[in-house]
Assembly symmetry: C2
Homo-oligomer: 149 residues x 2
DNA sequence: CCAGTAAGTCGGAAATATGGACGTACACCC
DNA sequence: GGGTGTACGTCCATATTTCCGACTTACTGG
């Protein structure tokens, strides 16, 4: 018999989405990348319900993507900071933004522009780390698995 | 007064997430990128509830990311194909996968590898289209808006 | 005729999301 | 000292979604 029913794939995409696979999680991250590290600020800038944002931030902190740290004792105030793994989610955010800029602006200018430290507007492209070529879906194939011996 | 309450940002990330900002939508896209274009196959490989997948596919088709086309009349069979805008979501998928491979494999090998047509394992990196440098969050700033006159 | 597959739809229970009010702990100002 | 405002949540009741299993339709193949 062939692998007949193929359980749900446990790939890295699925695993990653367990952590960031929800609108408010990614929008909270967007805010932190933009420098807004405080709860109320995130509520305002994302439009997320306070409860939901609380839950998402907890997940992100538990996953080690954000760190919640006190910035003042009296009054008690906190901020959420990106950890290294959090910083490494930047490509996810920018590729979402890039796509929206291309397909969802309906002719008008993108609602926000980013400037790279090279001085130019950031245009983010995904390239292959081996050959440096722009990655197109049609140029990529899943590597066949070796049979389990 | 300063822009006191700052309505939720309507940025491209938020707009994009209205379409793909949910686990099953992105996993369905992953499957299509892997070549599985059929409904039942997506159900099996993603583990999504059939209803939910139906709903997500409808959204994706409505957004023009996928196209639902008949592949047989008798019996009626359909497949979902990526449109150009759908193909351009590839960077989102690969950057999610890249991150999971880095942070969620717990020491073991990634559950799936991709091969680029250059012959090497695909390592996807996001670079600035102007200077070619790898994009790091700390090297990017939002461009200040011109004041509305 | 029976089994199987593909592509959904349906219904009802369970889980989540949402919005508004509330709580706490201050700071600022008069 | 009292009133107002901000930050960071929590709580509750309702609304919406999700989830699962069963069912439907339309065939093919034996």
């Amino acid at each position: 018999m062939t692998t007949l029913s193929a359980e749900p794939r446990n790939c890295s995409v699925a695993r990653t989405l367990e952590i960031v696979g929800e609108k408010w999680a990614l929008l909270a991250l967007r805010e932190v990348f933009l420098g807004n590290r405080r709860f109320d600020e995130m509520v305002r800038k994302t439009g997320a319900p306070r409860d939901t944002l609380t839950a998402r931030l907890k997940t992100l902190v538990a996953a080690g993507v954000l760190e919640r740290r006190p910035v003042s004792e009296h009054p008690p105030r906190f901020e959420y900071r990106l950890t290294q793994s959090g910083l490494d989610l930047y490509p996810v955010i920018v590729s979402l933004m890039e796509w929206g800029d291309r397909y969802l602006t309906n002719g008008s200018a993108p609602p926000m522009e980013l400037t790279h430290h090279c001085g130019h507007r950031l245009g983010a492209v995904t390239v292959c780390s081996s050959c440096g070529e722009v990655v197109l879906a049609r140029d990529v194939r899943p590597t066949p698995l070796r049979a389990t011996p």
